[in-house]
Amino acid sequence: MSRTITIEPVTRIEGHARISIALDDQGQVAEARLHLTQFRGFEKFCEGRPYREMPALTARTCGICPVSHIIASNKACDHLLSVRIPPAAERLRRVLNLAQLVQSHALSFFHLSSPDLLLGWDSDPKERNLFGVLRQNPGLARDGIRLRAIGQSIIETLGGKRIHPAWVVPGGVAEPLTADKRDAILRLIPEALEIAKRTYAFYKTLLPRFQDEAERFGNFPSLFLSLVSPNGTLEHYDGLLRIKDAQGRILEDQVPPEDYARLIGEAVEPFSYLKSPYYKPLGYPQGIYRVGPLARLNNIQSCGTPYADVALAEFHLLQEEGPISSSFHYHYARLVEIIYGLEMIERLLKDPVVLDQRVRARARSNRYEGIGVAEAPRGVLIHHYRIDDDGLITWVNLIIATGHNNLAMNQAIRQVAAAYVEGGRLSEGMLNRVEAVIRCFDPCLSCASHAAGQMPLAIELWDTRGRLLERLVR
């Protein structure tokens, strides 16, 4: 008798989702799906608005990564203006984007995933949270809180506020950086880097415990998509698109972000509001690819900063050859990127250009179509707008990082469920691992709201006639 297991809601991710796992007559996993159950509608209700409102509007897509939307949206607006922004503005936007990366990765690693990593997937769910981490390793809990606070503080210093800052504007940034603010940020970096290095070293000591998870958590061949700099190093703000295959061959390189539609198609499935982007030349669903920290590090040979390059070399040793295929190693990649982000922020701020008073190029719209692409913490973020003669938006397409990973997340769930469901029997450990594999991708499904306290977790078993056979509630 075939059955369906439903996990709803998935906890400790950003946003709300449901997982369903269908079992066949033999109790083996036949299908597994991630359902995004919220409809946001940003692409439609932005139509008719002036394009200059887009950064503020699209920043409200998310309470965790508004900075990423602000960056991509303003880049799309720069494109509409047909301007090249001043060098100081470009560097300052880079600093803001990297501060966002640091605070977001810190949230993912310390707050959301460290309870699994430290306490284990079979531990009591009531203990498997930040409080449990605090009891087990109080220093790690404090480090996570401090590192995130530093990332947020940099955003606040630059943008005026830590959530939805309006400092980035079409053509550059609204105000130049003062020496006092630069120095205040620079004073934070040594402490943050110390925390990042300490955490990285600690995580490496934990890794041998996770050989099973590394083997089974979304470990499959796929393509990898990311921005890279023109010389092939790590890039989060600008750069060109690169796609590598599972063997490490570069399929696409030096592709201007404005040509993204040549590479990426978007499929729609009836079971989710999340689109399923795919690599067009391979078709759907064969064109599965991953984005985010794992893809970014797989696509480069060098970060371009000293300590991150050492960590990158160690990252590449996780596998004998080829790009790292296990999604479990997103965690590792995040720690490498935190180090890189902090080193690069320091380097950018020590460049005297950042204090230049010219920070904004002014123009009216000079084209009807604008595309802005940046690397959000979770991967490539694409904003694409069309406007009319009055500068009003006529069409919007947003491809968010979590969307790029949709096909990969479904495959990862299927793999974990198949590995841990035995004879159709459910166990808390299996459910935890299914949730945990999703957390490897750190999906950001909306971030608009979260219930306070522990979310209920219900698992339902259904037969092929739609009858509820079993219901477990946590």
Binding site: L130, F131, A141, R142, I145, A149, H450, A452, G453
Partner: protein
């Protein structure tokens, strides 16, 4: 002493705590730094504030209240929460003090001042008249002798 004012700037009188902190910050900026006083304005209370709290002996939270006649100012002492649970995105002052105690082994002696709101409908940074006047009274009570200019 740490003063944390918090509230939603888009929800009318709910913003009163946030505005109180912002006006205190404006005032302090004009006066020059006041040693020992830190003021923070936030839309909500998050775990990162525990580190700020740990560095002070006293803390004052300012928030809006649903109950009570509009403009009524209330003050009450707070104790750190002792019940532990998973970490939600948004914390209450007592939960935040609890996390401060658990994380850093200390929590400041704390109070919560609330101003009862009249309207929590959509309104960006605009308070109802009774709450606006209560805010001015509160700021005066906190030591601002002259009413600071309204934020733009």
């Amino acid at each position: 002493m740490l003063i944390i004012g918090y509230g939603n700037p888009l929800r009318g009188d709910d913003a009163v705590g946030l505005l109180a902190a912002e006006r205190l910050l404006d005032w302090i900026e004009r006066q020059g730094d006041i040693p020992g006083i830190e003021v923070i304005a936030r839309p909500c209370l998050t775990i990162e504030l525990a580190a700020n709290l740990a560095g002070h002996r006293r803390a004052l939270f300012i928030d809006a209240a649903l109950a009570g006649p509009a403009g009524a100012i209330r003050r009450r002492r707070l104790q750190p929460a002792t019940e532990r649970g998973p970490l939600p995105h948004v914390l209450s002052p007592t939960e935040l003090l609890g996390w401060c105690q658990w994380l850093y082994g200390v929590a400041p002696r704390s109070s919560l001042i609330t101003i009862a709101g009249a309207s929590f409908n959509y309104a960006e940074g605009r308070l109802s008249p009774l709450v606006e006047s209560a805010l001015a009274r509160l700021l005066k009570r906190l030591g601002l002798k002259q009413r600071p200019p309204q934020p733009a």
